[in-house]
């Protein structure tokens, strides 16, 4: 079955970021397809590669990147939410005159249309938030 996932909360802030990851991983391991994971609101903070949690803690950002590499996942960050919170890729940095980018591997920045499309294309949209 084709699933889409929406994540509304940031890592280390609310369990939603962990729940979404665990659900996505379990679905992939059962052979389901994940059409897209859409990061919205504070959920965009799941996409910063500058995070450095203690070694004995889970690395929520790397965990997403690794899952994306393993299963060729489409991890999409909402552009408007990302701009507000300083989540930047090369294109956005250039466009907004920033001297750095911080998007983690496997993530891409795009618009809300990607969430709408995911809702239409996937058979189930599962939302995780506060």
């Amino acid at each position: 079955m084709k699933f889409a996932i929406q994540v509304n909360e940031g890592p280390y802030q609310h369990q939603a970021a962990d729940s979404a990851y665990q659900f996505t991983k379990a679905a992939l391991e059962k052979g389901h397809e994940i059409f897209r994971v859409f990061f919205y609101h504070d959920g965009v903070n799941n996409a910063t590669k500058l995070t450095t949690p203690p070694q004995d803690d889970r690395n929520i950002v790397n965990r997403w990147s690794e899952l994306a590499a393993q299963y060729d996942l489409d991890l999409v960050v909402c552009v408007a939410a990302a701009q507000r919170r300083g989540i930047v890729d090369e294109g956005e940095a250039k466009r907004n005159g920033k001297d750095a980018e911080n998007i983690a591997p496997g993530f891409r920045i795009s618009g809300l249309g990607q969430l709408v499309e995911a809702g239409i294309q996937a058979e189930r949209l599962v939302v995780f938030g506060d």
Binding site: A26, E29, V127
Partner: protein, 102 residues
């Protein structure tokens, strides 16, 4: 049309569980996740409400979230089934929609 409802708030903190139970139609299912698991505990104030809800819908609780909060499975009200993440995925696939009561 069968819906899987998810509730992730403690019923002792927010009223999303009551909102869900009063609007959920017969034959739908409820999965308690995150702090929502507190609604599944025996001997707590919500037990009668959950037993009443069990008459019209299937009730589930996420095992890993019980464990994360130090709650053993034998503390769960009879009639509420404990599932893991794979079970969560199965429930999402088995129902037509998943509605998160955030």
């Amino acid at each position: 049309m069968s819906i899987l409802h998810t509730v992730n708030k403690s019923p002792y903190e927010k009223n999303s569980l009551d909102s869900c139970l009063s609007l959920a139609s017969e034959g739908s299912a409820l999965l308690l996740i995150e702090d929502g698991i507190y609604a599944a505990l025996k001997g707590a104030a919500k037990e009668p409400r959950m037993k009443e809800a069990a008459q019209k819908m299937k009730l589930y609780v996420l095992g890993p979230d019980l464990k994360a909060r130090g709650m053993a499975e034998d503390r769960v009200i009879e009639g509420i089934e404990v599932v893991d993440y794979a079970g969560f995925v199965d429930l999402a696939a088995a129902h037509d929609k998943v509605n998160a009561w955030l």
